[in-house]
C-alpha cells in the first residue's frame, strides 16, 4: 500500500502538508509501514488537497478535499479496515473533469513523485532521450519535430521544428537552448504546475533540443515567484546528472550538455524572447527589434532555441510516438493538445488538457461545469494581457491558433478566465491596461505613452466622466499601439480594449452616456440603498459602517446617506437579510 498526497503550490496552500502529516502521524501511531509520498498537481485545483491510496493489487482510490480530520477517517476505514471511505471519494463531476481530458503533456502530473527520477523513468521517462541520442541524427530529430507540426505553446505559435532547423543551420559553433519558464500572464499557471509535477519532462525536452542543434549549454529562465518549481527543477537536474542523463558524456554517447536555472527578477516583459535573453545577460530586460531573430543572434549574440515549458514537454512524447502520431490530433493548422488554466467564475477550476479544435463551450460547460450560483455567463478572457474577451455567441469557436485570433483573442499561454454577469467589461479592460501600462519597459513610445493614455481614458469612463468621443479615441490609440510597438507586449496590449469594444460596446455606452455600470462594479456609478421590506433594523450595518453613513432607529428600516457613503460594500456583505441593494 502507498499513500500519495498532491503537493503542488496550490495543494500546499490548501493544506496538503498538514494532510500528509496527519497520515504519517496515524501510520506512526499504528506502527504500520506505509509510505506517504509526494506528487504534483493533477489539475483538480478546486478539490485540493487530493490523496491517492494505492492498494497492494495496484488499485487506486482517489480522495478529495482531505483535511487532517478526514485523513484520520480515511486511515481508519481504508488503510486499517481495507474498505474505501466513500464520503471523501472523488465526486462524479471531479472524475468527469479528468475523464474528459486528453493528457499528453500532463500525463505524469499528479501521478508520479516529481522529486524522484526513478518514478519518471518507470513511467517511460528518458526513453525518448535514449532513442534520440543513440539512434537518431540531428536531422532526423528535426524531421520528427517538423512532422509533428508542433507550434510554440507560449503564445506566438511559431512552428517549433522550423525554429530548430534555423538554429541548426547556423555555422557558429556555440549555441544555446533556453526554456522560457517566465509564466507572467495573470491567470496562467500550467507551466508552474508542470514544473512542479513533472520537471524531468522539461529537462528531457531540452536535452533532445540540444542534441538536435548541437548545443552544450542550456538555461531555464524561471520566475522567482515560483519557488517550489525552482526547488524541484534543481532536484531534477542533480538527479539527472547523477544518472548520466545530463552533464558530460550523456548516456555514454560523448555528447555533453548542461542546464542552469536562471531566476527572473520580476518583469513581465521578460517573457518576450529578446528581453528574456537580455535579462539572462544580467541587463535590463528590454526587447530589441527583430531581425536578427534569436535563431541567428540570440543569447550572447549566439544562435539560440527559445521554447516554452509546455512546448518542450511535448517533445519527448513526439520522439517516442512519432510526428505523425502527434499530428493526427487537432485541427488543420493546430496540432496536438493544449493545456488550459481555467479559473474565474466557473465551477470546476483547474488545469484542462484537450485536443486542439475543442470548442470553448465544451471547455467551460462540459469540463468546467458551467457558471456557479446560477449566474449568467458574460465572457471568457483568453490569452491574458495580450488576449481578448469572447462573448457567449462565439463560444463554439474551437481552440485553434487561427480561429481564436479571428474572434479577437489569442491562444496565448492558455489562461482561460471565465466571467459572469457581475463582471464589468470596461473595468476588466481597465484592469489589463493598468497591468500592461505598469509592465511596459518604456523603450518605445507607442507602448510607453499609448498605454498610459488608454488607461487614463478607461479610468475616466469607469469614474463616470467618459466623453462621447472617447470610444473613437480608444479605437485610434489601439490601432496605433498595435501597429507601431516594438515587441509583443506593446502589440498585444490593446487587445483587451479592442475585443471589449467590439463585443461589449453597449457597456461602454452605458458608462459614457447613461453614467451607469450595468454590472454594478464601478464605484462611482453605483449607490447602496436599504430596501424597506427585508430590513429588520438590527443595526449590524450601522455598527460596522466605517464612515457612519447609516442611521435608523432600532427595529426600523435604516437609511444610507449617499453623501457620506464611500461604497466600501461592507454593509452589503454583512446584512443577514439581503436588505442592501446596489443601484
Amino acid at each position: 500500500m502507498r499513500i500519495l498526497v498532491g503537493q503542488g503550490s496550490c495543494g500546499i496552500a490548501s493544506g496538503a502538508k498538514k494532510t500528509a502529516a496527519a497520515f504519517a502521524e496515524q501510520i506512526r501511531a499504528a506502527e504500520m509501514d506505509v509510505p506517504v509520498d509526494v506528487t504534483g498537481c493533477i489539475g483538480l485545483c478546486y478539490l485540493e488537497p487530493i490523496v491517492d491510496i494505492y492498494d497492494d493489487n495496484g488499485e487506486m482510490t482517489r480522495y478529495t478535499k482531505v483535511t487532517p480530520d478526514t485523513a484520520k477517517l480515511i486511515f481508519d476505514a481504508h488503510v486499517v479496515g481495507g474498505t474505501p471511505y466513500t464520503p471523501a471519494m472523488i465526486p462524479a463531476d471531479g472524475q468527469a473533469f479528468l475523464d474528459k481530458q486528453t493528457r499528453v503533456v500532463m500525463k505524469n502530473c499528479g501521478i508520479i513523485n516529481p522529486e524522484r527520477i526513478e518514478d519518471y523513468i518507470a513511467s517511460g521517462g528518458y526513453r525518448a532521450l535514449s532513442k534520440a541520442i543513440r539512434n537518431m541524427t540531428a536531422d532526423e530529430i528535426c524531421d520528427v519535430v517538423l512532422g509533428s507540426d508542433l507550434r510554440g505553446r507560449g503564445g506566438g505559435g511559431f512552428p517549433t521544428g522550423k525554429k530548430w532547423v534555423q538554429v541548426k543551420r547556423q555555422s557558429e559553433p556555440v549555441k544555446y537552448v533556453v526554456c522560457n519558464a517566465d509564466e507572467g500572464d495573470p491567470g496562467a499557471f500550467m507551466d508552474r504546475s508542470i514544473l512542479e509535477a513533472d520537471p524531468h519532462s522539461v529537462l528531457e525536452g531540452m536535452i533532445i533540443a540540444a542534441k538536435a542543434i548541437d548545443a552544450r549549454k542550456g538555461y531555464i529562465y524561471a520566475r522567482t515567484e515560483y519557488p517550489l518549481a525552482i526547488t524541484r527543477l534543481q532536484i531534477a537536474i542533480t538527479q539527472a546528472k547523477e544518472r548520466g542523463l545530463l552533464g558530460d558524456d550523456i548516456l555514454g554517447s560523448g555528447f555533453d550538455f548542461d542546464i542552469e536555472i536562471y531566476q527572473g527578477a520580476g518583469a513581465f516583459v521578460c517573457g518576450e524572447e529578446t528581453a528574456l535573453m537580455r535579462s539572462i545577460e544580467g541587463r535590463r530586460g528590454m526587447p530589441r527589434p527583430r531581425p536578427p531573430f534569436p535563431a541567428h543572434k540570440g543569447l550572447w549574440e549566439k544562435p539560440t532555441i527559445l521554447n516554452n515549458v509546455e512546448t518542450l514537454c511535448n517533445v519527448p512524447q513526439i520522439m517516442l510516438h512519432g510526428g505523425d502520431w502527434y499530428a493526427s490530433v487537432g485541427t488543420a493548422t493546430s496540432k496536438g493538445t493544449k493545456v488550459f488554466a481555467m479559473s474565474g467564475d466557473v465551477n470546476n477550476i483547474g488545469l484542462v488538457e484537450v485536443p486542439m479544435g475543442t470548442p470553448l463551450r465544451t471547455l467551460i460547460y462540459d469540463i468546467g461545469g458551467g457558471i456557479p450560483k446560477k449566474r449568467k455567463f458574460k465572457g471568457v478572457q483568453l490569452g491574458g494581457p495580450s488576449g481578448g474577451c469572447i462573448p457567449e455567441h462565439l463560444l463554439d469557436t474551437p481552440v485553434d491558433y487561427e480561429e481564436i485570433a479571428k474572434v479577437g483573442a489569442i491562444m496565448g499561454s492558455g489562461g482561460v478566465i471565465v466571467m459572469d454577469e457581475n463582471t464589468c467589461m470596461v473595468d476588466i479592460a481597465r484592469f489589463f491596461m493598468e497591468f500592461t501600462q505598469d509592465e511596459s519597459c518604456g523603450k518605445c513610445t507607442p507602448c510607453r505613452v499609448g498605454t498610459r493614455r488608454i488607461l487614463e481614458i478607461l479610468t475616466r469612463i469607469c469614474e463616470g466622466k467618459g466623453k462621447p468621443e472617447d470610444i473613437d479615441t480608444l479605437r485610434y490609440l489601439c490601432d496605433q499601439i498595435n501597429e507601431n510597438s516594438l515587441c509583443g507586449l506593446g502589440k498585444g496590449a490593446p487587445n483587451p480594449v479592442k475585443s471589449t469594444l467590439e463585443h461589449f460596446l453597449d457597456e461602454y455606452e452605458a458608462h459614457i452616456y447613461e453614467k451607469r455600470c450595468p454590472a454594478k462594479v464601478c464605484k462611482s456609478l453605483i449607490r447602496f440603498e436599504i430596501i424597506d421590506g427585508p430590513c429588520t433594523g438590527c443595526g449590524l450595518c450601522a455598527r460596522n459602517c466605517p464612515v457612519n453613513a447609516i442611521s435608523g432607529e432600532r427595529r426600523q428600516t435604516h437609511v444610507i446617506d449617499p453623501d457620506i457613503c464611500i461604497k466600501c460594500g461592507i454593509c452589503e456583505q454583512l446584512c443577514p437579510y439581503d436588505a442592501i441593494e446596489i443601484k
Partner: protein, 177 residues
C-alpha cells in the same frame, strides 16, 4: 571610506566579522561569470534584505559595472528593493482571477488594518505590503503569500475578514496583540 559611515542596523545576524564578508564571498564566486549582475544583486539582497547604497558601490568597485548601470537594473526589476522591508513580506496577488474575485477589497482591508499602502512598511517593521502580478494559484483566488525569512506560506480564498485574521494571528505569535 564610505562604508565606514554605515550604521549596523540593517545588517542581518549572519554578518559577524565584517559587514561585507558574505557579500565578498558572492563577489568572488561570480565576479568573472558572464552576465553576473542580476545573480549578484539577488544574492546581495538575500544577505541584506535589500540593496543598501554602499553595497551597490561595493558591487560596482569589484565587478566594474558602473553604479548607474547597476541602479538601472535594480529599478527595472520588481524583485529588487532599495529600502529595508518588514519581517513579514505580504505578497498580495492582483492577477486577473484574484481581481475578479475581490482582491481589491482584500487590499483595502489590509491597508486599513496596517495603516500602510502598497510597497510600504509598518512603523514597527513587522509587515511590508507588495502587490504582485500573479502567484499562479488562481484556483484559490484571492491569494496572498507571506514570506518570513526563508519560509513562505500561501493563503487562499481570502475575504477582507480572513486576511485581517491572518495578520492578527501573526501579530499574536509575535507577542504584539
Amino acid at each position: 571610506m564610505e562604508h565606514n559611515q554605515r550604521t549596523d542596523k540593517h545588517l542581518c545576524s549572519n554578518c559577524h566579522s565584517s559587514e561585507y564578508a558574505q557579500l565578498d564571498l558572492v563577489l568572488n564566486e561570480y565576479k568573472d561569470v558572464q552576465g553576473n549582475l542580476i545573480i549578484i544583486l539577488q544574492k546581495a539582497q538575500e544577505i541584506y534584505g535589500y540593496l543598501p547604497r554602499d553595497v551597490i558601490k561595493r558591487i560596482s568597485d569589484v565587478t566594474g559595472h558602473t553604479q548607474a548601470k547597476i541602479f538601472g537594473v535594480v529599478t527595472f526589476y520588481s524583485q529588487f528593493r532599495l529600502n529595508p522591508i518588514g519581517k513579514h513580506l505580504i505578497l498580495l496577488c492582483q492577477g486577473t482571477a484574484c481581481h475578479v474575485n475581490g482582491s481589491l477589497a482584500v487590499e483595502k482591508a489590509i491597508c486599513h488594518e496596517l495603516g500602510i499602502k502598497d510597497k510600504e512598511t509598518t512603523p514597527d517593521n513587522l509587515f511590508t505590503l507588495n502587490n504582485v502580478a500573479c502567484l499562479g494559484c488562481c484556483s484559490l483566488a484571492p491569494v496572498m503569500m507571506i514570506k518570513t525569512g526563508d519560509t513562505e506560506e500561501t493563503y487562499g480564498n481570502l475575504t477582507p475578514d480572513s486576511a485581517i485574521e491572518i495578520l492578527e494571528d501573526i501579530r499574536r505569535k509575535e507577542g504584539l496583540a
